[in-house]
């Protein structure tokens, strides 16, 4: 396996009395695509959000390349620049146009020239198939279109890693495919991707590994075909019966 780009060691997280993560270890190789599945409350979103420290772990370590995310001395903003994130509810900035949504972060955070960032925004919009929506506002777009803009917005920072937190869960069925197509395209391009989702089709087409989590631990992991067709653990079997 190639060198790891993300290393998570004994990640634990409690919310009051609830233990969301009970010691998770995970290494992600550069260019790897990982799908995290599991019932709600299994800690999969918490794990994902600990990679860019939207969630602070109670104990354990997270490393992104040579930076320790969990260290209080970490330059977390620098790390976040390298880690793009896509949310279930899109979270586009409603007061900005589509192009401004995409160009804002590189302009503000990296101090790049607007001429450069706006051109990149245009190219990214073309990539996600929305070049005709450059001047639209988020509330004029469908859910699928909004999520594609959200992916373009994250890509504008030219991240090395992309996190997807249930990117298609808030979408109507007919819009899921357009978002998955963009994600497939990214995976083919060699992006390192951590995806919390139950999209089996995407997993079979693009994922290198599927991780099944339950009650804050990794129960089972393996290649998509192995996990989906031949799970070893009983908990995995039961869960898959529910969603297949």
């Amino acid at each position: 396996m190639a060198e790891s780009i993300i290393r998570i060691k004994q990640a634990k997280k409690s919310f009051g009395h609830v233990q969301a993560l009970r010691g998770v270890d995970l290494e992600v190789a550069r260019g790897e695509v990982i799908l995290i599945v599991g019932p709600s409350g299994s800690g999969k979103s918490t794990l994902l959000r600990s990679v860019n420290r939207l969630e602070t772990l109670t104990s354990g370590e997270v490393w992104v390349e040579d930076d320790c995310v969990t260290s209080p001395h970490a330059d977390i903003r620098k790390i976040r620049e390298e880690v793009g994130m896509v949310f279930q509810s899109f979270n586009l900035f409603p007061h900005l146009s589509v192009t401004e949504n995409i160009a804002l972060a590189p302009t503000v955070v990296r101090k790049e020239k607007p001429a450069v960032t706006y051109q990149r925004a245009q190219a990214l919009l073309e990539r996600v198939g929305l070049s005709d929506k450059a001047h639209a506002y988020p509330d004029q777009l469908s859910g699928g279109q909004q999520q594609r803009v959200a992916i373009a917005r994250a890509l504008a920072m030219q991240p090395k890693i992309m996190l997807f937190d249930e990117p298609t869960s808030a979408l109507d069925p007919e819009m899921i495919k357009e978002v998955l197509d963009v994600m497939l395209d990214l995976a083919k391009d060699g992006m390192t991707m951590l995806v919390v989702s139950h999209e089996m089709g995407f997993a079979r087409a693009a994922a290198d590994r599927v991780i099944f989590m339950d009650e804050g631990v990794v129960v089972e992991e393996g290649a998509p075909n192995v996990i989906f067709s031949n799970p070893k653990e009983e908990r995995t079997q039961r869960f898959l019966e529910h969603i297949l």
Binding site: R80, E81, F93, P94, H95, L104, M157
Partner: protein, 277 residues
Amino acid sequence: MNTNPKTAPGVAGRIPALAPETVLHLNESSLIPGDRETLAAWKIAFFGAIALLVALPIYRPHPFLEILSFVPDGLTATFTVTVASVCCALVLGLLAGLGRIARTTIINRIATVYVEVVRGIPLLVQLFYIYYALGPLLHLNGLMSAIAALSICYGAYLAEIFRAGIQSIAKGQMEAALALGMSRTQALWKIILPQTVKVVLPPIGNEFIALLKDSSLVSILAVSDLLRRGREFASTTFNYLEAYTVVALIYLIMTLFFSRLVGLMEERLRTHGGKHH
């Protein structure tokens, strides 16, 4: 047309909590009879007041013409106090509002204590305190004391409006900004506050109207505002009914005018969603 009962005349008080989804998503089809009624009432009150103010001097030039030439001098003081106080209160309110959501305990504590203390003391008592108790120490005249007291008082109310407005912007907005590598300050200025402005403009407009009315309290500090001029006229001519009628009508016309303006502004924000096109 003004369709929102919250900003309709007669209810031009303050809105304690914000409910942006109810404020922002009304449209023509949601015109309920009550709304139509308030609009009709607004028209009657506004144009009635103007008609009365024109008619009275025509039918009874004495004393109404004299009152009308004497009293409006006070408008300068009333507006000076109102506008200066609004400006100071906005700055104070924004700072205290940000302080209320600050993660630094000491800043948060200071802002919260300020809001709680000020909101717990009647404005009239604050005016007396600043003018009579602190005024001699700080060499404040009536006008300065009035502006200081109103700014401090309304700053606390505006702080709560800003706080509620900022908090009404979904948590996801802040997370999205942070995930892109922005600092909290950058996220606040580029993402949160621009959206907050839209949400808080109408309630701030209502505070402005409330402040305009409360500015009449400064007449007891020897500031020659509208009410004070009316009182001066009345006490020399004994035309109490006439003088105070004119004063009341002028206040009424001003507040009705501004509440209508706030209503229109609210509607624009609602239909145009801020800055589309």
